[in-house]
Symmetry: C2
Subunit: 139 residues, 2 copies
DNA sequence: CATATGATTAGAATAACTCTAAATTTAAAC
DNA sequence: GTTTAAATTTAGAGTTATTCTAATCATATG
């Protein structure tokens, strides 16, 4: 089931976009509203399928253009995981990790507080970022 | 620079293959010898380029077939990382993690002893595997 | 409202594989 | 040692996810 996501009104989404310095076109409001308020780690293809049902007409290129714009604006994070070739988009822009349910393919955000790690590498290695994917099953 | 890799003789590689239950064809001996004795996290494309220089004639499909065979036989591990679409092949088949030098794109193996982590997730999450990519720079 | 800037579009192009069906090599049976 | 069967290799077509291109359309500003 989908964690506490609340649908967002179009004006709310529009404000989010404008605040982030993004021109609020109809396509962007639609896609952004879907990802922020409804979707859970959607791929571009899932966004396209959603748009085909909820938006009069949207090209695949617009989906890609838009998610890129939203990532650049700091509204989304993009992730790529080894189990799938498709990138996923996450409305959680804070540092966090992921858990992949290998049975269902579902991704769950993992808060950094749930993970306690320390890394000690040889001289010369400077760690600036950490990506963690936990794999397993979820009851 | 490449960590302590020693070239392997063809007979040694052949033995490795036979021991793993893999028919030791000329193509497999060549590719396996290259990855075990020389290469550092090569992609299929890099293996193909090496083969074009060191083997009379090898199709791209054979490169892909062969690395798949070697992975299935437990001789190699395959990894995919977010910074590149191409899979890489690792002669280290033990559990380990990676460090990506963002300046050079080089991957370095990270031994599990260098990483101390504990994960505590909510009830129902059973972790069966962990993938970690450290990103940064190396002097 | 004219015009420049920015966004959207369809479809072509690309990268990294995977698939297919035929040809070749190797192994197994006689 | 040939014949037969099984496994491997191959070229090229197909697939998937994404980017690029260049034309069209919308929006914002003077």
């Amino acid at each position: 089931m989908n964690r506490k996501k609340k649908p967002l009104s179009h004006p709310d989404v529009e404000k989010r976009l404008v605040d982030a310095g993004v021109q609020p076109t109809a396509q962007r409001i639609a896609i952004c509203g879907y990802i922020l308020g409804e979707a859970d780690h959607p791929t571009a293809e899932e966004i396209k399928k959603w748009a085909d049902r909820h938006f009069p007409k949207m090209s695949r290129a617009t989906v890609y253009n838009t998610v890129k714009t939203l990532v650049d604006a700091g509204i989304l994070q993009e992730f790529k995981f080894p189990h799938s070739d498709a990138a996923v988009y996450d409305s959680n822009t804070d540092i966090h990790y992921h858990f992949l349910d290998e049975k269902t393919g579902e991704l769950h955000d993992v808060q950094p507080e749930s993970v306690d790690l320390s890394v000690k590498l040889k001289e010369g290695f400077k760690v600036k970022g950490i990506q963690i994917l936990l794999r397993g099953t979820k009851k």
